[in-house]
Symmetry: C2
Subunit: 332 residues, 2 copies
DNA sequence: TTGTATGCGTTATCAA
DNA sequence: TTGATAACGCATACAA
């Protein structure tokens, strides 16, 4: 900038004013400065600017597993919205490790991000929550609820309703023993999906058979192991809900291994409409939601507080939609 | 930091030395400073540190489409490696738009990233290349080749070899008319896959029928449209190579619509072993590569130059592997 | 409308 | 081993 000023024969501050298009700059000044900038190929230093302004125009994004297509979509939606608003995204991966959540939040605090979007690996871990409280910037939680975190907005998907409808669909088809494989209850989707599952049972006055409920993981490996267990029960379920797109992968592996055919021999429901669900033969019934939109909404909730410091944290809910396909059939 | 110094009753510079564990600090000094830091909950300002040091410990990552599971995996591998080495990743999405490539590179330049990992939307666009040349930091290209960019390392997948073997497999099964749907030639994977396809043809002394070659896109929509065209030819191909995981989604939609069954009526090969390929019925033959590893290697190539400024740019090649499954069957 | 000067929070140089 | 101080590149209060 100093060089630009020298070249243009003006003061440093004038260059700054031109760059930030300050109202009080003459056309002559602007022209001189712009010319000098061009000649020198000058690019402003956003690091210095951030230090001076006290704002980095940067948002931290902590995600449990970017390789999960779900999070990839959310990331996409959020990055697009943030980028358009002039913010850059600093991406970190907690790899599903609650302790890393805390570390990553601390790192982002040191980097002085203006805001944080986070999908916690574990909502209940107090060290992480304490760390989040120390952060003095707006926070948006993705599909998570942390009771005493007043500074956080959130985007929540209505898993419970979707799962209730899916379970009721199975009841309507005559199924009475329904297996559920899902994520752990330490995270909102796990709790909500279970809640919907239970709600359907009680509305139909059927007791939940806890031997058929396997909560605790997200991975294909967990899905496969749990599906294997359920299939080997003395009285196996006639329908299975594999509540997660990676769990579905594992579940299908187990079903193939056991040579149980979907639809005719066992009904199957999953969550999130990935290509595998749509194109599998038979196509798989899913509880879907708009994940890209969730990312956009998360970014929007953050931006509204970044642009207006008076704005209060807010919770937005995204609906789920039951897409019925041939994997759910009448019980035999 | 000033407060910490005051609280500990020492000079500012001493606090800095403790924080950067400089060799010449007494144990007493360290203890006092650490105590003050704890009491105040002080967290260093990495923005100021970056300005002063002239290094942000930050790497820019420009990807064409983070929602593509392929890039999501690459991102995962790269972020993990960078994070372990103390670098943060600034993620930007070009959305497949060559002009955005340039914009994003410029933005990252202003953010003073220490290095750049990029998967260009278009290798040939000169404005983008000019922008990359202005960047004075190490660059790593992901599956891209830019002739006159001396400052860039690269990770390349051996698509040509994989595609050659896939095509030869189809010839061995008796197919003579093989359709190819693939990405545009403005990007290395498109060129290489076509090269492998042609190599197989010439090794088997079969001429390429250009009516069967449809290059130009990555999306499901493109895959579906091209598959539709190929199926409606007066003399349609007996085998199809859908060279991309999203193209596969579109191709399968077209096949379903046309009620053509994979394996028995048409042989099918795709690229990258996504769950859909593994679990489809019949399972789909693919040309696979380790995408997470590609991300890790990209980060590694960057780190070796970040840690040793003398290090020269380097090209690493990742092998492809043909996974033969039931979607490829003898021609009828 | 433009120029001068100060400080943002660090690190590094130099002197003590 | 420690302390005082300059400088990193910019934005802004204030003076002209």
């Amino acid at each position: 900038m100093k060089e630009v000023a020298r070249r243009a024969g003006v003061a440093l501050s004038s260059v700054s004013r031109v760059l930030n298009d300050h109202p009080d700059v003459s056309d002559a000044m602007r022209a001189k400065v712009i010319a000098a900038i061009k000649e020198l190929g000058y690019q402003p230093n956003l690091v210095a600017s951030s230090l001076r302004r006290g704002s980095t125009k940067t948002v931290g994004f902590v995600v449990a597993d970017i390789s999960n297509p779900l999070f990839a979509d959310i990331t996409w939606g959020a990055e697009r919205r943030l980028n358009r608003a002039g913010y850059s995204m600093v991406l970190t991966n907690s790899e599903g490790d609650p302790a890393r959540d805390e570390k990553m939040v601390r790192l982002l605090r040191r980097r002085r991000v203006d805001g944080l979007i986070i999908s916690l690996a574990d909502e209940t871990r107090k060290e992480t929550i304490a760390e989040l409280k120390h952060l003095e910037v707006p926070i948006v939680l993705i599909d998570r609820e942390v009771g005493d975190l007043a500074s956080a907005s959130a985007v929540l998907a209505d898993h419970a309703e979707g799962m209730r409808r899916a379970t009721e669909l199975l009841f309507d088809l005559g199924h009475r023993r329904i297996g559920l494989i899902g994520p752990s209850e330490s995270t909102r989707p796990g709790r909500e999906r279970l809640a919907g599952f239970k709600a359907a049972h009680s509305s139909r006055r059927v007791g939940v058979d806890w031997d058929l409920v396997k909560l605790g993981g997200l991975s294909p490996a967990f899905g496969e192991a749990m599906a294997h267990e359920l299939l080997n029960l003395k009285d196996p379920p006639s329908a299975l809900i594999s509540a997660g797109n990676l769990l579905l992968v594992g579940t299908l592996r187990a079903l193939h291994r056991a040579r149980v055919s979907v639809g005719s021999e066992i009904s199957l429901v999953s969550c999130d409409d990935v290509p595998l669900a749509e194109l599998y033969n038979p196509p798989i019934t899913v509880v879907d939601r708009n994940t890209v939109e969730m990312g956009e909404i998360a970014a929007g909730l953050l931006l509204e507080r970044l642009e207006d410091p008076e704005a209060k944290p807010r919770v937005a809910t995204v609906p789920t939609r039951l897409i019925v396909r041939a994997s759910t059939a009448a019980a035999r």
